[in-house]
Symmetry: C2
DNA sequence: AGATTTATTGGTAGCGCTACCGTTCCCTTG
DNA sequence: CAAGGGAACGGTAGCGCTACCAATAAATCT
């Protein structure tokens, strides 16, 4: 079926025959700079010339060379985004918000995956910085000192997302994972559960803070017990959720609820309950974190702490765009908060 | 809490004080070209000079300017990737494969989201092409004629992913969605189900081909009935799965199985069965498409057609890298196939 | 009317790097 | 020992665009 002609397209050298700004300029009978302006700041060129130039642009199919533009203006039309994972639904939502917040803009996004590694983050930062991005968006507030230094010296706006905390490098948008963990755990206690387990995978700094919030709530109620905490460094997933829930039961057979560090884990725990014939919520209460869409469809529907991930991406970009435009955003540090969504899985 | 100093970082003009290749060259007492070579083709510089140059590079913290490099060499170290969605788990997996296939390489990825729109695809192609990417990866085989023309004229390798079909622009890696839909449907029929419904959201070209495969299998068995097909243009999701399954039941109350165009939909259908007290698999059989991880953890576990999405991303990049290196890949068109994973949800 | 601003356009000079072609020097080879 | 070849390095000349200024014409002010 595949024709034999399929193969590798050649990479020709310089030029490639594409029209340049000089071609447009001479054909339109104007200076190159005027063409440049007509494309970037149309209002600074008279309507007559503008039309004339645009006609030639269309005729020749001229598309400005972004590399030349970036070199000449010392600024690439690129926004660098560093996230620790692409698999994780949470970051997928944030990234979607970023893309959609950009929309009709001429800027491009470049995503770097740090794999939860500070070294990888530093390297990617170097790479991104080497193209003089228009802005940088980084995840979390736990950059290495070297990375922080790079960000501080970077001559572009920087937005830290996912969390809020003291000492923003520049701008910041997120919420408190500690308070989130605390609120979810309190809810379980108020719902009447006593032996509330914590189940957490991929204990990154944010998950650690959720755990700290859980611990605080348990201690406040005089219910904390080391054996109720089960964590792993493995990445979170539905499978890991099932497995860790089994582990938790083995360690603390009398547990009557589980606060999972995210929704995948919660779903895994729910399926494990089904499998073992444990009734949710009467025997076991389950709460997740993030409130992914599936939580309300699951049977029974799952309680979760809703976070505004998409919104976070959108507003991070909005803040970056403001800063690129030279305007100081009204609020350089934004706490988006969260909302506990109580559903069947914790209503007994 | 946020210190008042937080705000917008200034964007200074040209230079920014970063060391250039000339700085390194003079400090190392060599020509600029030699520095350039030492960084890009170390084997072409004598070991002594190389060490000397690298020492200065480290000392000065020199990082080559990617924009200048791209302009001078008429080639940006960027691979453009066009996908129709970032939310969809399927593309998330492919994208992950792409990122990991790249790994230690100096290339960067730039993702463009076409939102299943051919116009958006054309525009993004223009944008990508304007920076002379090292390679392009595009999703599907249903580009508009204009987009196809752009791809054919692009002087870089092009890989079409997700599907196989005739007339690759250059290289291609995927599988047959038609055969996948046919195989899944056949399995349901062989398992003893007779009134097998098709439930499909976001009917993009690939979903249409899955539907065509379903139809073929049903017709072969003399079971096809228009009323068994329920589709929507809305994006697929667990919620949409629940809703569409209800719709399907309203149209064809006697249906005894559902082939869903993807796994989110299948999970939604499963939850809806739980909710309505319909037993799976005895009353209703359910099969999904893609075999996301949650399928095997769901209760009952869900039958699905496994596709090799991560692998597809990895190999697409591998093919692109081969082509960039000027080597012709052994097989320019690759069919990755699929595998039907039979689980509890269709075992009655 | 003369002075001063404002709008519109263009010329010049790079941005920081690499392709291309030399040049130098050392090593073979007949 | 001359001729030839290869390895190692460097100079020159851009890549295609935009920042910075200058120049001109038109508009506004005193």
């Amino acid at each position: 079926m595949p024709p034999v002609t399929a193969g590798v397209k050649a990479r020709s050298r310089r030029g490639g025959g594409r029209p340049t700004i000089a071609d447009v300029a001479s054909k339109a009978g104007v200076g190159a700079i005027t063409v440049s302006r007509a494309l970037r700041e149309p209002e600074r060129v008279s309507p007559r010339l503008r039309r004339q130039i645009m006609a030639v642009v269309d005729e020749l199919g001229y598309v400005p060379d972004r590399n030349a533009r970036a070199l000449a203006s010392a600024r690439a039309d690129v926004i660098g985004v560093l996230v620790p994972s692409l698999t994780n639904n949470v970051f997928a939502d944030v990234v979607r918000g970023i893309y959609e917040g950009l929309d009709q803009n001429h800027l491009q996004v470049q995503i770097g995956n740090t794999h939860y590694s500070q070294e990888a983050e530093e390297e990617l930062l170097q790479t991104f910085l080497s193209q003089r991005p228009s802005a940088l968006i980084v995840s979390g507030i736990d950059q290495s000192p070297a990375a922080t230094a790079l960000l501080e010296r970077a001559d572009c706006p920087v937005v830290q997302i996912m969390e809020t905390g003291p000492d923003p490098v520049d701008m910041m948008i997120g919420f408190s994972h500690y308070e989130g963990g605390r609120a979810a755990t309190r809810h379980l206690i108020e719902a009447g559960y006593r032996r509330v387990a914590f189940i957490g995978a991929r204990m990154d700094p944010r998950s650690e803070r959720r755990l700290a919030g859980y611990r605080a709530a348990m201690e406040e109620a005089g219910l904390f017990d080391e054996r109720l905490v089960t964590t792993t460094v493995r990445p979170s997933s539905v499978t890991t959720g099932s497995e860790l829930f089994r582990e938790a039961l083995a360690k603390a057979p009398a547990l009557d609820a589980a606060f999972c560090n995210n929704d995948d884990m919660a779903l895994g725990a729910l399926f494990e309950c089904h499998r073992q014939g444990r009734a949710v919520p009467s025997e076991i209460g389950i709460a997740g974190f993030n409130d992914l869409e599936m939580m309300q469809i699951a049977y029974p529907s799952l309680t979760s702490l809703r976070t505004y991930r998409y919104e976070m991406g959108r507003r991070a970009i909005a803040m970056a765009l403001e800063a690129i435009a030279g305007r100081r955003p009204a609020e350089p540090v934004v706490d988006l908060g969260f909302e506990l969504i109580v559903r069947e899985s914790t209503r007994r």
